[in-house]
Amino acid sequence: MNVDLAHLKDIRKSFNGVEVLHGVDLTLAPGEVLALLGENGAGKSTLVKILAGDIPPTSGSITIADTELARLDVYQARQLGVRMIFQELNDAPTLSVAENIFLGQWPGSKGFVAWGDMREKAREILKRLEVDIDVDAQAGSLRVGERQILEIARALTQNAKILVLDEPTAALSNAEVERLFIVMDQLKKEGVGMIYITHRLDEVSRVADRVQVLRDGNSVLTVDAKGAQREVLVTAMLGHEALKNARPAPVSTSGTGLEIKNFRSGDDFNDVSMTINAGEVVCLFGKIGSGSSEVLESIYGLRPVTGGSVHIFGKEFKPKSPQESSSSGIGYLPADRQRLGSFASRSVAENLAVASWKAMSRLGFVDAGNEVKAFSRWSDALKISARRGPTQEIATLSGGNQQKVLLGRWFEAKVQVLLLVEPTRGVDVGARRDIYDIIRRQAKESGMAVLVATSDYEEVVLLADRALVMSRGKIVSEFTGNSVDANSLISAAS
């Protein structure tokens, strides 16, 4: 036991009287990779934040490098060699690679940076990690995965012994993931202990020595990574309540709405083919980086297409630009509502009507009455609660209500194909149900084909007539009607 780098024992943590960790143990040996699994809210982040001294535990003991610590703060944790690498980058993109590796602690004296020295040391450390990155390149010009490796390099220059990686691969391509794993293998040889938080089960056997699963603040399973069965891990993560789609499979409708064949875009996805009937809601399920949202972006013309074909109600369509797509009867709801969806300073009526102005106008002039009419038509159907009526600024509405307005935008525009990316991200639970009902009802009534990209399996279960699962840029399986359930989805996507 005394060879352990870190040992957390019986850790409990309460926030405002609510206990979120109910006595969790965790150990980490030198040169070991421990994969930490669990659904959102299982307590993974809280646990590693306690290890990093970010938040104090309510009770329990922390032992790092054979010293038991009554209190651990961030500085002490850093002193003992605990470093966190997050999914989001913490670098200075306009500075060089070498400067980033020594960010804030540039070698030199009397306020002057010793450039030659710094570049030499940076080159050494990158060589140690067996990566080939130019130390004079601008950090911002590198790929995300390379920038993440820079952060690991920075941690190493600061003498890291325990490295916590919080979903580092979420935004990476396959090749970059493999490169990160090679770096991790290298660190293992140097005796660095790593805690690796992930959602991707296939990564566990590749990179980890042991797996620990958290669920609802309890440690429910700790096993050797090599022999760990995927089904066992999934069941441990979910508990036993697996969601099932209660709806019957839809009666097959007449026409084909959207058909894509051998669709591909660079490294993001390839050979994606699917057919969506008129009135059907199909979910494309996959974790971030699986390529699911990228497929929708490409159909809409936001991302270059490098191969394949798209047909809309039998007619060939070549994705070029959002303008082209929206005037060809395609609607697109982006995942990032604030950045790409809503016009914050404009009224709800305008936000709803913006895609239909052409239809509402005569000789280039919009009839404001039509705008208000459109709003009242949809505010009832979508249960939008805008207390101050059609002129209220959209930014003053709740996330759920804003999302309903943006959905109404495309319903009003009478699109034939609706593409939705993470339609309920940041939406409260109550509004979520409304939104699913609305999408399903509207699809059936208007006969439009709906394609939803989502990383939320619950959403798939509650929304989809059919689910396609994507992983690493490819469609890997398909579930229809009652066979759509959380367990099979997650295990197929991982």
Binding site: S342, R346, A395
Partner: protein
């Protein structure tokens, strides 16, 4: 029923964005009326209107640009170049040739500005700041740094059909066209959308680049027209006559409630802002305040106006 009454009540309760400026304008108006016996006079109001018309012609497309989140600083120098072109053409050829060449110059400049901003992707502030310097130099080059006198071209700046000065008439027509297209046309609504969220405008299928391009052209043509009117008023083209025009234009627009960040603003607000600057300048002259103070007052007003804009944005962010 109860729903509609609630909506109406809320409408009444919300204060229009231009209310503070309106109050300031009225206060200033009353103050000057009391302080100077020459202020409240139809002839004086005519003077104010004539003095504002040139700035106003530039303010209308300027407001369209600002609402779309862009700015055109080259208008003052563009007006100067246009005036120099006018004077030379009128002296050597004819008024018609002068007007055509000046407007073609405006069109060309607008196309260049529009191209640099929407195709090359340069920030409009920097592009048009460069334009400001370049064009001022060109204006000096054309006249060799001297004022160019001209003959027989007073009608554009000084004639008074139906008792209304022609420049004021031109401004009024442009203002009405601007206000209507801003409020009612798909073009105007799209400008609001582009200014409010350029990324979302692209995603929703608005042809942002094309519309911005058109608006830059309108701005430069407006500046060229203003330059022609100005030199007709003066019977001479002075390369320095329109210096600082861009500052006055931006002050009026921002004072009128348009947000520098885009997405907000109205023609009514801009015109009110313009009138506020007009009576302030006029009132200070009537009260025998040295003209240097006009510059100070105008600069201060711009600072106050943008401070208001920032505070309003902060407040809005807190609320949402």
């Amino acid at each position: 029923m109860s729903k509609t009454t609630e909506v109406e009540k809320d409408k009444k309760r919300s204060i229009p964005a231009s209310a503070p400026l309106m109050a300031f304008f009225v206060g200033l108006f009353i103050y000057f009326s009391v302080a100077s016996e020459y202020f409240f006079d139809i002839e004086n109001f005519r003077n104010i209107a004539v003095a504002l018309a040139v700035t106003g012609i530039v303010c209308i497309p300027g407001t369209l640009l600002m609402i779309a989140g862009q700015v055109d600083l080259s208008v003052g120098s563009a007006a100067a170049v246009s005036g120099m072109i006018m004077a030379n053409m009128v002296n050597k050829h004819s008024i018609a040739v002068g007007l055509v060449v000046a407007l073609v110059f405006g069109l060309t400049l607008g196309i260049i500005n529009g191209f640099l901003v929407t195709v090359v992707g340069v920030n409009s502030l920097i592009t048009t700041l460069g334009g400001l310097a370049t064009l001022y130099g060109i204006a000096l080059l054309i006249g060799n740094g001297q004022t160019v006198m001209m003959r027989n071209f007073e009608w554009l700046g000084t004639s008074q059909p139906w008792g209304v000065p022609l420049p004021v008439l031109i401004f009024t027509v442009i203002a009405i066209m601007g206000a209507v297209s801003l409020r009612k046309s798909t073009y105007g609504r799209s400008l609001y959308a582009i200014g409010s969220n350029p990324n979302a405008a692209r995603v929703v299928g608005i042809r942002s680049n094309r519309l911005l391009f058109i608006t830059f052209v309108l701005s430069s043509v407006g500046a060229a027209l203003a330059g022609a009117v100005l030199c007709s008023q003066l019977s001479a083209a002075d390369p320095n006559a329109a210096r600082g025009l861009e500052l006055e234009v931006i002050t009026a627009i921002v004072l009128g409630g348009a947000s520098l960040a885009g997405g907000r603003g109205s023609m009514f607000g801009t015109i009110l802002g313009l009138c506020t600057i007009g009576i302030l300048n006029n009132g200070l002259i009537l009260l025998d305040v040295p003209t240097f103070w006009q510059r100070v007052a105008q600069g201060l007003m711009l600072i106050i106006a943008v401070s208001f804009d920032s505070l309003r944005q902060k407040l809005n962010n807190q609320r949402s």
